[in-house]
């Protein structure tokens, strides 16, 4: 799943940095993730994994790192 998330980050989050060089726990906001990039990322993740992020997940910490995105998506795909 981490590789899929990295691919989506690369193609949809419009990061000015190299996604491949980011550790799983790197702060994506410090890496240049904007609110516009966050929304593109969310829409792409919803489409790819067939999930809908509930309102409680639409917060900064859900998308602040690759690890936190994986946790959010895992929670939704498990249920």
């Amino acid at each position: 799943m981490t590789d899929e998330i990295r691919d989506i980050l690369r193609s949809h989050a419009n990061l000015p940095t190299d996604v491949g060089a980011l550790p799983d726990d790197a702060d994506l906001y410090a890496a240049g993730l904007t609110s516009h990039g966050t929304v593109s990322l969310m829409v792409a993740l919803e489409e790819h994994f067939g999930v809908e992020f509930p309102e409680r997940m639409l917060r900064r910490r859900s998308f602040e790192s690759i690890a936190s995105i994986r946790a959010a998506v895992s929670e939704l795909t498990a249920s």
Binding site: P16, L33, V43, R59
Partner: protein, 391 residues
């Protein structure tokens, strides 16, 4: 028993400023597009510039509800003065909440806040920059740090009252190799910076804020950089507090316009006792619209107060949408209210030399829709609503 909020004595001090120098000088501040120096002096005399500083640092712990009420009271008299006050308090709250909270109570920002209270310092901001398309969450300039200090050169497209302040809160990329959105925010004091003005400030309304552009060059100790990234300062404080306080300034303009219309109706009624003048119906309509506006502005202010110490809740998308909507809705509602008040009073409001004159209020109110363009905020909300579900 808890003290009433807002504290009446605090608002009484604001009314003395509003009914005194703010109202007395509003016309010349507007005509000459000059800084409302008399009002700011009076705010200092009433010790209102530092009220939001914690009492442990010499201030009065003013709440956002109290600051909002002060902005509205000043806005009823002179919207330029009220906007200067609002902007100063936005900057001050950034320092209170992100510079001197928790473990930082004896550092540079704690000392500075004590000085803000003791010396009633006025703080401006330089968050916009030439070449970033009006996006304050993006910087071109960067902090260039050495061992103990940083240098900064910024082409700031707007520094309101930049020539009249004691310090400026300025954003920049965290370092020369940081991406555009990886920003820090630092306070630079007079004596640590040089300003070179770029262009003037000759606008339709809000003429007293002197919101000119400046080339800012600064050098200051590293301890003057806020410890948290600007992204957090913006989301937790600057963005929501700006919208709440600006909305109260505009609410002040709307309130004053409706008060003028009601005064006009009462004067009409006294000419024919026993007959309700036709304009009374329009005034009742205006009062109803004002109540709706007041309710929505207050609701948004309380929404912020309820979650102000919960960064996770402040980062919620639904809350960002709510704050953007506060700005959009207030800006869109204030102008029709002033126009309707003007239509009610007729030529008396259209004249610049009458007791019922509403020209300045109308021109000031029109600034609400362009001070961060409503379409920009609609575009942001349209995007956020692609994933947000509840509101």
């Amino acid at each position: 028993m808890t003290a009433p909020s807002p504290r009446p004595a605090l608002l009484e001090r604001a009314r003395r400023v509003a009914d005194g120098p703010a109202r007395a000088h509003a016309a010349t501040v507007d005509r000459d597009a000059r800084f409302p120096a008399e009002t700011v002096e009076a705010l200092k005399r009433e010790r209102l510039l530092g009220v939001a500083v914690p009492s442990a640092l010499g201030g009065e712990d003013a709440t956002l509800e109290e600051l909002s009420a002060i902005c509205q009271i000043l806005g009823e008299a002179c919207a330029s003065s009220a906007m200067v006050y609002a902007m100063h308090q936005i900057q001050l709250l950034c320092l209170v909440r992100h510079g001197a909270a928790g473990a930082h109570t004896d550092g540079y920002f704690a000392r500075t806040l004590r000085a803000c209270s003791e010396r009633q310092l006025l703080i401006a901001s330089a968050t916009s920059e030439v070449g970033v398309g009006g996006d304050t969450r993006s910087s071109r300039c960067a902090l260039e740090a050495d061992d103990k200090s940083f240098r900064l050169h910024k082409e700031a497209s707007v520094v309101s009252y930049g020539q009249h302040c004691d310090a400026i809160l300025v954003t920049a990329r965290r370092s020369p190799d940081a991406v555009a959105s990886d920003q820090s925010i630092a306070l630079v004091e007079r004596g640590q910076y040089a300003l070179e003005q770029m262009g003037g400030w000759d606008t339709l309304g809000m003429r007293g804020t002197e919101s000119c552009g400046f080339r800012l060059s600064a050098r200051a100790p590293l301890e003057q950089v806020l410890p948290e990234p600007f992204e957090r300062v913006s989301a937790d404080t600057m963005h929501p507090v700006s919208h709440v306080l600006w909305a109260h300034v505009w609410l002040g303009i709307a309130s004053a316009s409706v008060a003028t219309a009601r005064k006009f109706v009462r004067a009409e009624a006294r000419k024919k006792p026993g007959v309700t003048p036709p304009s009374a119906l329009r005034a009742a309509e205006l009062v109803s619209q004002l109540h709706v506006l007041r309710g929505s502005v207050r609701d948004a202010m309380l929404a912020y107060e309820a979650r102000k110490d919960d960064p996770d809740a402040l980062s919620a998308m639904s809350f960002q949408i709510r704050m953007n909507d506060l700005k959009i809705a207030t800006a869109e509602q204030v102008v029709p209210i002033v126009l309707a008040a003007m239509a009610l009073c007729g030529i008396a409001a259209y004249r610049n030399d009458s007791d019922y004159s509403l020209g300045r209020h109308l021109r000031d109110a029109l600034g609400a829709g362009v001070m961060i363009g409503n379409d920009r905020l609609y575009a942001t909300n349209a995007m956020l609503l692609l994933v947000s579900k509840d509101l």
